[in-house]
């Protein structure tokens, strides 16, 4: 059984691909991080079909964690999970930091819940106070 896979659901194809690229780097080539960005025509939006394809591509038998950017991406990811067969969970997480945290955890062999938790805990990583 391989590592937990990760799917990046975002409104823009390029946003999803860019975040997935960063995640793969953090997973040092041992974690499948797949993008599901934009609508089926390549425009801005979300598509449950693209989510389904990405989950299939990310699944190595240890389950898949979904992360989403905003609004309909979140709703589409959650709607997918309602019907999904197999181990697929949604992580309530910031997209970039969450994917980095999840890929790092998955690379170390963490299980599905631990990878999802690592993504959620990324909400706690501050970047300094707003006063600078």
């Amino acid at each position: 059984m391989g590592n937990v896979g990760i799917v990046v659901v975002a409104h823009s194809r390029r946003l999803a691909e860019g975040v997935a690229e960063l995640g793969r780097q953090m997973g040092v080539g041992e974690v499948r991080v797949e993008p599901a960005g934009g609508d089926v025509d390549g425009g801005l939006g979300t598509s449950i079909e693209l989510v389904e394809q990405a989950v299939r591509a990310a699944d190595q038998g240890a389950g898949v964690v979904l992360l989403a950017d905003i609004g309909s991406s979140v709703l589409t990811a959650k709607t997918f999970i309602e019907d999904a067969e197999g181990e697929v969970v949604f992580a309530d997480a910031p997209l970039v930091e969450g994917v980095v945290a999840a890929a790092s955890a998955a690379c170390g062999g963490a299980d599905l819940q631990a990878v999802a938790s690592a993504a959620t805990e990324a909400y706690g990583f501050r970047k300094g106070t707003s006063s600078g």
């Binding site: 609508d39 939006g45 979300t46 598509s47 449950i48 079909e49 609004g71 309909s72 709703l75 589409t76 959650k78 709607t79 309602e82």
Partner: protein, 205 residues
Amino acid sequence: MDPVLDMAAWIRHAAELVAADADRLTRLDAEIGDGDHGHNLNRGFTAAVAALPDSGPPGKILMAAGRAIVSKTGGASGPLYGTALRRAGKALGDAETVDAAALGAALRAALEGVQELGQAAAGDKTMVDALIPAVAAYDAAASDGIAAATRATAEAAAKGAEETIPLQARKGRASYLGPRSIGHEDPGASSTALILRALAEVAAS
């Protein structure tokens, strides 16, 4: 005895009303959202009509329509309306006909599905502000039969949609506008009222 309520006719009529009002819904959405609601929903309901099975129990018809709406709508309204129809369909189960009590349970299941997915409460300026009074009005009138109850439902949904005008949005893109979201009808509440009007008109015919 209620006449047989044809769920496929509801979806077809809802698609007609959405198509006729797509520009109005998109204009409402352009004021406080991202300006695509009417056209997204039109695409979703067009796909739902194409996905309607030729026959089968009413619950299965709603589930097929809901699946198509999730797949083809784009935007937040796809998962929300798709979930609403699928939960309603699931509540109806395999029953061959829909009585007043079953329709009430289906409407409540739809509301619960939307709230579970979208996490919106009353007063957040969303479709829930049309659905909550609509379901309550149905329950209050259910003993008068489906035609009367769905008429009360549609009226309550329209009133609920209108009452979103003075609200400040707490969900979606409109919530980033803060007080500037006040003074506009929520497009999701407006389309919910339209879809429930289609139900009442089909039930009355």
